[in-house]
Subunit: 346 residues, 4 copies
């Protein structure tokens, strides 16, 4: 089968992956599932993986097929699989868990001690077929297209996971600030809107992104290249600050907002990454705010997100590309030329 | 009356405060309370105030009487005060709140929009008398000595506040790491021990501090000058990391522990300050840990701490000094020569 | 001034209250506030008070002016009141709290140890003027009419309080069942809809009420006189049951739904009353569901509800009556002839 | 192998079970585990099962081997089992879960949609061997004896599960009332003591049980045959009531305590069963308390309880009986003649 694989870390996106023929994966355990990939979202994280940015955090052995945002049709199942069968449309949580470690028992998919992460630590979905397991697939409801929903497998649940944490602490009259209205932030706005009655302020340097935020339910829009974000938030919140900040950028300049725009007792969620946090400890003490780390989401959170999609509460703008276009997509994303989310259709 | 007052910010602790005669405060509102001070704890924060470190965070007008950890006997009350009367022993929460802003309505003492903070934004308790109000005093149970309990008004509830947040997330078998076993950390150990069944690891560069931690309930002790803290925590937690870290130091070197010693989904609580946090956003994403800010505690938390003291669950080692000794105490603390907590007895 | 007062408990609603002249209340404490009443909602609880149903639960001394759902214009203030002044439009939380007991410190308005409850334990708002205090009034935003919003002071926050508890446990894809779409239930539907992405099933024996529920955001409607509620819930939830049930009726027949329609780990909220709970302990064990008591809501919850009203998330259908019509209103409510909520305009 | 089996429901405990020879179970799935039973606790629920009291709640087909509180040594494993191997000592959570339904994903062991419950819906551990699976076994730490710990598999985690819910809401100074100091209540006292700093009041009609409670950490003891429980609780709580009540009896007379002894906003946990709840809805409204159902506990809660046992925080008094004594044990329990917990040692 065909697969787009990483052989060597590089900063040159034009030659990041190689599309080549490899063997189709085979079932060797009772709980495994092979999915014929219909859609595989391309993610900023794919660029980061190609650059070698995850090498120090997780075990990676090259060559590896990338692609962690997958959906498709079940092609084959292990002999004890019960929740799906051949022909079922599914979305694939990126993490294949063991089901027996303490983290798995607690539903903490991301903390599984024996996990494989599609396209990050094991072969992913930029290929004709993907090998995963029963604990990682979610059957899709009627009327939901695998190709359309694929990016939710990571972009979606990452945004949902952070937004759900935020929503639990947002009362009517409270304010949420959402920084960066790209693939993830755009979903974050819709989730906060659907699951709370808080006021939403969207922050982005592209006016087209702010328009997207407004369609998604944002109440206030601010472009940092035109207005002072700190003054803007101070004004819309009557000086109280935002109870919850969702930072989908994670640059130095955005993590620095926290002491000035976060309400007492509030949270600045780190979802995007690339920059760093650099604050005096005293700032966190004085404002009693927190920097809250966020990584992807649980299997059950992906179920909840599928419910939101089915209900029409969350929409995703996607554009489709062929498997041979992977490097073109990587370059376009680098230059911010992708509108919505690019989905590879192997 | 006599009062120890700050006239000018300085780094020279030997001449930080001036003991002088000023007018005794007077009752001007129906809810005010005047307390004859029996004990006023000296705090690392007093040194920081003298150095001018709080000037940029809160409104301060000099000269000001310092002292935010106060207890004593009610000397006079406004005409609508109901919960105390002349002669009652009380501990004074450092914050005088308005009782009518939204934060006050939520019990968030520290976020009151119209607050005065004893010895930080208004005159404090290094004096014969302290002016406060009904919303800031807690009557003491029989058998609790005001001088002994005074430091709990800040040191105590700050430790308690952070420990209570941590305890809510600590299950039996989980691990808490407590960094810095000084005045606050020493209370933190006892609170975590009394309120959870978690394993406690104490970290300090003084062996005498570690012994104090062991008496307070710590299960494991590590001196960073003798052992590698990261390896130690990795070993006692079987590689899982600590679910909760209470950082009573807040130096660069201690905030840097977080990515290596905090369990997935865990919290590194910032309580001490002086240093800064400097981490890539990706570290928080990868480990899904949080830096959690903490400031003092609520009035109701001070009630809970008084209950712990009354039950014998928390003990505090104090040494007593006269009002004229304030600068000596400041210098001793600077050189880490205070054992337990110094209490000024005006 | 005129006031509608209860002199004797009676089951005959046609002569429950007497409209008479009494002295206007006077300010005697620094924090008191006198409000000229613009609107005072009539509530099922007023009927229950007239019947003597609250006598065993709270201290009542007759004669007493009823009316606990009040809004109006500030007419006079005590000399230390700061958050309102003469001429300000306000809604009145029904409970006048002390501000200094532990419950008040925790924001638990309803548990204040020294409270007065308008129209239940002290004179209420079916009168030209109401005596209350600074801790009970909330200034209204521009554009919100006191007469329109008055019923939210009790009907509104009672529904909001229970709905907020429920919403915290409702994930997308979960189901909420709302039993009884009268004055409170109708608000409950809108609150759950605004603050969650759960599926809502409304239950009522009046089809007109079900239509109102649908406008408010209900997804499924069931009339127990036409369909079997247990089968209906089983069907819409695919056999899982409803994660949260809000019972605004509280009759024997509705509390009996719990073991059959509540999901494992779910809650059956008791808000309406009149009937009783009668279940074997084993039923609660087997299904691990809870019967959750609910009484009115906190002051801060009324602030949150005012924000929802201001945002247009919650609408209330009201009909207006003069003070002289109180007994007519009581009778109409008894015979279910009130559409939406009756508001007395003294 | 030998097994003690139920052939017919009966109220006569002297002939409830029949000890007979049946086939040893065999491994048929990759995740199955066969345990040689070292200890199997006898439980009040076993009496209830023999009486037919669970027939209407769960699917049961007779004959069935009873015994749901099992521990022993792994004798054989399916070919994909990874967490244990032959010879490992284990405690067996009574529920064999599927690992793939939504409840399993959330860690809600008890709500698994495809579960088998040892000795309740499938053959249990009053036998030489027990068939279970990898998701139900917990390896025991060194020094923990399987026979001693066996009853924790149900009695222990049921008490722990309810106590853990209670502890989350108990602050220092709050009061917990524990009703019924038998096998479960005795563990409940120790868990609340280890995991909170609340005051504990134990209620039992046997003075020897109250003595056991005192050893376990109870602060106040009351025998309802000698003192009025309502007055006692009112007195020790200064009129506030108990924040949390753990009812290990679940009789009419104990559920009736709730309106009188539970603090505003508090919970009355139903753990024991046999009687029923019968209260006016208005009582729950007025006091805003809840009746909270509780069933057994999660797999991860059993891990936490094993940690408590290993740390020495929870001790269990057991007496050992041979497999042939099962009916004698049943009769003794019926007549309250068992001290601590009876463990069958096949
Ligand atoms: Zn991604
Ligand atoms: Zn795992
Ligand atoms: Zn201090
Ligand atoms: Zn305030
Ligand atoms: Zn730096
Ligand atoms: Zn009402
Ligand atoms: Zn009060
Ligand atoms: Zn009955
Ligand atoms: Zn049992
Ligand atoms: Zn399951």
């Amino acid at each position: 089968m065909r697969a787009a694989r990483l052989h060597e870390y590089t900063d040159d996106m034009s030659e990041g992956l190689t599309v080549e023929e490899i063997d189709r994966p085979e079932i060797t355990r009772s709980d495994e599932v092979i999915v014929e990939v219909e859609g595989a979202g391309w993610c900023q994280t794919d660029n980061h993986i190609i650059e070698g940015m995850w090498e120090q955090y997780v075990p990676q052995s090259l060559p590896m097929t990338l692609g962690h945002e997958n959906a498709g049709i079940v092609a084959e199942t292990g002999n004890e699989v019960e929740i799906v069968e051949e022909g079922d449309p599914v979305i694939c949580h990126p993490v294949q868990t063991c089901g027996t470690c303490r983290a798995c028992r607690q539903g903490e998919t991301m903390y599984c001690e024996n996990q494989s992460f599609n396209g990050l630590t094991t072969d992913g979905g930029f290929a004709d077929y993907l090998l995963t397991n029963e604990r990682a697939v979610i059957p899709l409801p009627d009327g939901v297209d695998p190709t359309d929903i694929a990016p939710h497998a990571d972009a979606g649940i990452t945004a949902y996971h952070a937004a759900k944490k935020a929503v639990r602490k947002l009362n009517p009259g409270d304010h949420a600030v959402i920084v960066g209205i790209g693939g993830l932030g755009h979903i974050g706005v819709q989730v906060v809107d659907a699951m709370s009655a808080a006021q939403i302020t969207a922050v982005d340097i592209k006016d087209s992104a702010l328009e997207l935020a407004e369609e998604g339910g944002a109440d206030h829009l601010v472009n940092p290249e035109k207005e002072d974000v700190r003054e803007f938030v101070d004004s819309v919140t009557d000086g109280t600050g935002a109870a919850q900040v969702l930072d989908f950028v994670g640059a130095d300049v955005t993590t620095e907002y926290a002491p000035d725009i976060t309400a007492a007792g509030g949270d600045h969620h780190i979802i995007g990454y690339g920059g760093h946090i650099h604050e005096p400890a005293q700032a966190l003490v004085n404002g009693e705010f927190s920097y809250v780390g966020n990584i992807v989401g649980q299997y059950t959170e992906l179920q909840e997100l599928v419910a939101l999609v089915e209900q029409g509460d969350v929409n995703l703008h996607t554009s489709r590309y062929e498997l041979g276009d992977v490097n073109t997509v990587a370059e376009k994303l680098e230059h911010r030329e992708i509108d919505g989310r690019a989905v590879i259709t192997p």
